[in-house]
Amino acid sequence: MQPAELSAIDLVNAVRQGDLSAVQCTEAFLGRIEALDGAINAFLKVDREGALRTAAGIDERRKAGKPIGALAGLPVAVKDVLCTADLPTTCASKMLEHFRPPYDADTVRRLREADAVIVGKTNMDEFAMGGSNENSAFGPVKNPWDLTRAPGGSSGGSAACVAADMAPVAIGSDTGGSIRQPAGLCGITGLKPTYGRVSRRGLIAFASSLDQIGPMARSAADCALIMETIAGHDPGDSTSLAADVPRYTELLEQPLTGVRIGRVAEHYAEGLDPEVAKGVDEAFAVFKAAGATIHDVELPHAKYGVPTYYLIAPCEASSNLARYDGAHYGHRTALKNTGGFESPLVEMYCRSRAEGFGPEVKRRIMLGTYALSAGYYDAYYAKALKVRRLIRQDYLDAFKHVDLIGGPVSATPAFKLGEKTGDPLAMYLVDLYTVATNLAGVGGISFPCGFTKSGLPLGFQLQAPPLAEPLLLRATDRFQRLTDWHLRRPKKIV
């Protein structure tokens, strides 16, 4: 087997045992990137030199009998929303095209300390706002299963690079589905942990009460491996949870006998593609065969999830993105004396932001500013916060009766590039099945559960109560022992 076909767990073991050097392993994936990424555009930056230098250092330490980290030699691709002190961090925005962070994100620091090899930064929707990766200022990512289709978003580059074996593992972020939806559309496994499980320090903020970092890989077992490194409390993020980090990889074995999985009638709404519905039903059958029991549960406020999300997230974004003012870092306009502004400083702010941000980011800043402005705050933002409580309560009530909630991750398989770009509202609805997880602050995972007749991956989503990542990973791992959808790869990409 070629290194690029091995699981992350096998790669780490091979490097530890000396069957494969960290340099060989890194070169194998860099070679894939070189051959394929011209067609896919999953990476905004490939750090060939830095990755090989890190890998060589690991090989030297191993040969000298010195200790090596838990992820020694494992190539990892990092979404370009996470700060890296030695690499550009653009958020796929012209605003941050030349930005160089002064420090590493906590997740990046943990990866480096575990001796993972960061191979590059992945493409995404600008500032993580979008569901197709078409909002990147540096061109869309193509879905490796069909280059005319979107990979989903916003972590589209992270999903596509794993699907095309350009990295065994990638890091994504999920504010309303940005890990799970692209994982589903690209046929890989993506975990959105409980809010606060992974530190947000150094994650460029979009909507701070919703943002969460998580692993994207070929399997739940590989996600479990990464979680052991990236999860945990960080004094630099006071919302990160203090709970102990379980040994996720050691908690996969227990069978699913007696685990109760909820099926939600609201998930079978109008617009659900029949092939997706069929794949989801078949996945429930697999879980049943594995010993789980399936129960109908209700999430009565499910239909309010998308409108609630599209108030809360833009409101938080309009506040978070106020920091891009052309003064401290980021793009500054070259224009002067254009007239109509209250001062030269305000002119600089307004022009720099207008030039630096793309259309979707502007739209969300405008929507959030409007909903927070005098006279509208109560009707929109405060109202959305109240509905958020109802949505969370739905989950807490449902989890009194079931251990997990299952269903589709997206209503359709991967859609065509350009299909939804003219209609912002149609694009917002791709988040239909994923936003409520973030509003409730619970965890979710998505993984492949079949393919359409035309060969596109179908995704299944499981959601669990706060801190039930071990169960999410165990259930998905069990599913992946009984099926081989997650092992399928696009036949010929270029």
Binding site: Y304, P307, H328, E342, K362, P424, V442
Partner: protein, 100 residues
């Protein structure tokens, strides 16, 4: 729900975004549609519901006040569009922005 072009222009100024005439036009129609869509929430009676700003029950986090190194001036200025080695440089804070 319809927003006026004037309203959108005012929001643009609040958001510190210099929108072009074309952008104002598209933004007015798109925001009207989106605001109409999110207004679905009006149908829910929430008079007895407390707002939820944070998803998990969290407690205040205390720590000892121990001095620790912060970013150096050079690090803080490293991505600044303009600086003089000690401070960020910006255009005049006061005074009108005259047309050239």
């Amino acid at each position: 729900m319809t927003l006026s072009r004037q309203e959108v222009a005012k929001v643009g100024m609040l958001a510190r975004l210099a929108l072009s005439d074309t952008e104002l036009d598209t933004m007015t129609s798109e925001l009207s549609k989106i605001v109409g869509f999110v207004s679905l929430l009006e149908k829910l009676d929430t008079t007895q519901v407390e707002p939820l700003a944070h998803p998990l029950d969290t407690q205040n986090v205390f720590r000892d006040d121990i001095p620790a190194p912060s970013l150096s001036t050079a690090e803080a200025l490293q991505s600044a569009p303009r600086h003089d080695g000690e401070c960020f440089l910006v255009p005049a804070v006061l005074g009108e922005s005259g047309a050239a």
